[in-house]
Structures are given as structure tokens and as C-alpha cells.
């Protein structure tokens, strides 16, 4: 268990701000027994097939954070060309475009933006990306169907 006093000040500050000034449509809460590990939920943007869905994710700040990016993964199944079947996300700022000037907040905003603007030219799931490029209408229909099945509480 990481005692709060040993947690880097940067992480303490980021966590406090995430809770005090949450981003619209996004929540991130650290687990009590591991303050580097967050339960995240992101609301699907209204201009997207993920509308009305609430997507659960998990986020972990590795020991070399903020020199290395956070690790983030979807726990809710989602039909998206940049998310694979295990929920892993293809997003430049989580890889080579990471900078210590970015934060948990910016990462989660970027993920929300990725839901509004899928990028089938840089896919993680090739099968999904192919459909997205060849028949966008069908792709959007499938994405809505997944949202309905997995991301909307009934």
C-alpha cells in the first residue's frame, strides 16, 4: 500500500484537482489500496455512436510517471478502430508523443476526443478499421449496437 506521504507530490496534486474540478463527462477515482491505480468512467460524446454510453476504463501511473505515460485500458467493450478487443488504446500521446507536461486530465480528454473522431488510418483493430473505411454507415451502426449492449445501463 502506498502511503500518501510517499506518493509523488505531482500525483497527489493531479488527483486532488481531478476530484475538486472534474472534467465534464469524465470521472477518475483512485483505489484506496493503490493510489496510482484509478477507476475511470467516460461518457460517450453526444456527436458520436457512443452517445448515452458510459465507458469504464482503468488507469495506472507506472513508477516512472510522469517521465513515462500512464497506462490506460477500456474495460467496457467498444467498437472503435483505435481500441482492440482487450481494450488497449492506440493513441499517440500514450506512446511516442507523451510529454511529462501532459497529465491524467489531458489523457482522459484525448480519449474522449478519440471517441468523437475515430482514426481508421492508424488502427489497432484492423477488421474494425476496414469496415470503417469501406462502409462507414455500417461501422457506425455496429458501434451504436455495441454501445447499446455494453455501455448503457438498463
Amino acid at each position: 500500500m502506498s502511503a500518501p506521504s510517499q506518493l509523488p507530490r505531482r500525483i497527489v496534486k493531479e488527483t486532488q484537482r481531478l476530484i475538486a474540478e472534474p472534467v465534464a463527462g469524465i470521472s477518475a477515482t483512485p483505489y484506496a489500496d493503490n493510489l496510482r491505480y484509478f477507476a475511470v468512467s467516460v461518457e460517450g460524446p453526444s456527436d458520436s455512436p457512443y452517445e448515452k454510453g458510459v465507458f469504464q476504463l482503468e488507469l495506472f501511473l507506472p513508477s516512472d510517471y510522469p517521465m513515462a505515460p500512464p497506462k490506460v485500458r477500456f474495460l467496457t467493450k467498444i467498437y472503435h478502430p483505435n481500441v482492440d478487443k482487450l481494450g488497449r488504446i492506440c493513441l499517440d500521446i500514450l506512446k511516442d508523443k507523451w510529454s511529462p507536461a501532459l497529465q491524467i486530465r489531458t489523457v482522459l480528454l484525448s480519449i474522449q476526443a478519440l471517441l468523437s473522431a475515430p482514426n481508421p488510418d492508424d488502427p489497432l483493430d484492423n477488421a474494425v478499421a476496414e469496415i470503417w473505411k469501406s462502409d462507414e454507415k455500417e461501422a457506425l451502426r455496429r458501434a451504436r449496437e455495441f454501445t447499446e449492449s455494453f455501455a448503457i445501463k438498463k
Partner: protein, 146 residues
């Protein structure tokens, strides 16, 4: 688990550790004498894995391929994975009826700590196949299962 110079102990949560293990296994490990991968590549919980061990040279297990099933509990890696042989095998650290490994008799599970993974358990089992207690034990027909 990693202790930083500040005294903080950083614990990688189960799912992110399993993703690291999966990526490590997909890169391929040395001579491929052991292998492991998800049973269902879309299982978000990553609970069920297939394992494989190629029997070591100069033993009764030579050139046999053993299939195993690995179940990763929610409390992993605080506790080791549950491992059982699917392929039938006669070995002092394996239950002869079920194929389950006997935790206290496999060094990797007996001395488990959260920095270890499925790879260490499979390597440890392979080493047991070559131990004095097991290397000459007669084996069931190749291809039979528990």
C-alpha cells in the same frame, strides 16, 4: 512491485501486469521451450490462458509437448496462478488424478512473490521435469490427457 528511492512501493495492478505478460509472450521467448497465451483473445478479464512446455532433452519428456491450462484469479499476482496439466504426465509435483500442480512442490509457486509471472511457473515446471526425481519416471502414452 518496486520500491522507489522515496520509499514508495509501487504495485502494478493485476490487469496491467497481465497485459505486460501477454506482450512479453507475444514477442517470443528464447528457444520457445515454454509458451503461453490467452484462451480467448477478447476476454477483458484475461482469466484463462493456455500454456505449453516442450519436454527437456535427455529425459523421459524429451520432445513431448505438454499442454497446460492456467487460471488467473482476481487477487493475482498477490497469489500465484492456478495451473493444471491438460496433457497427462507422471511427476512428483503434479496431482495424478487431476493434473493440478502441487504448489508446495513447485519452487516458483512455493516461493511466489508478486514480481513473478506465468513464465516463471512454466520454467520451474520444466526444470522439475529434468530433476532427479522426475527425469527417469515412465510416462503415459504421448497425447493422452487428464
Amino acid at each position: 512491485m518496486q520500491r522507489l528511492p522515496t520509499g514508495e512501493v509501487v504495485i502494478t495492478p493485476r490487469n496491467f501486469k497481465l497485459l505486460e505478460e501477454l506482450e512479453h509472450s507475444e514477442k517470443g521467448m528464447g528457444d520457445m521451450s515454454i509458451s503461453y497465451g490467452l484462451v480467448d483473445s477478447s476476454d477483458i478479464f484475461m482469466g484463462e490462458w493456455n500454456g505449453g512446455i516442450l519436454g527437456p532433452h535427455g529425459t523421459q519428456h524429451d520432445s513431448r509437448f505438454y499442454e497446460l491450462r492456467i487460471t488467473v484469479p482476481e487477487s493475482y499476482p498477490a497469489v500465484p496462478p492456478r495451473v493444471r496439466f491438460v496433457s497427462r504426465i507422471n511427476m512428483s509435483c503434479v496431482d495424478g488424478d487431476t493434473g493440478e500442480i502441487i504448489y508446495g512442490k513447485v519452487p516458483a509457486t512455493r516461493n511466489w512473490n508478486r514480481n513473478m509471472g506465468m513464465e516463471q511457473v512454466l520454467i520451474s515446471l520444466r526444470a522439475e521435469m529434468a530433476s532427479d526425481a522426475n527425469r527417469r519416471t515412465r510416462q503415459p502414452p504421448e497425447g493422452s490427457t487428464f
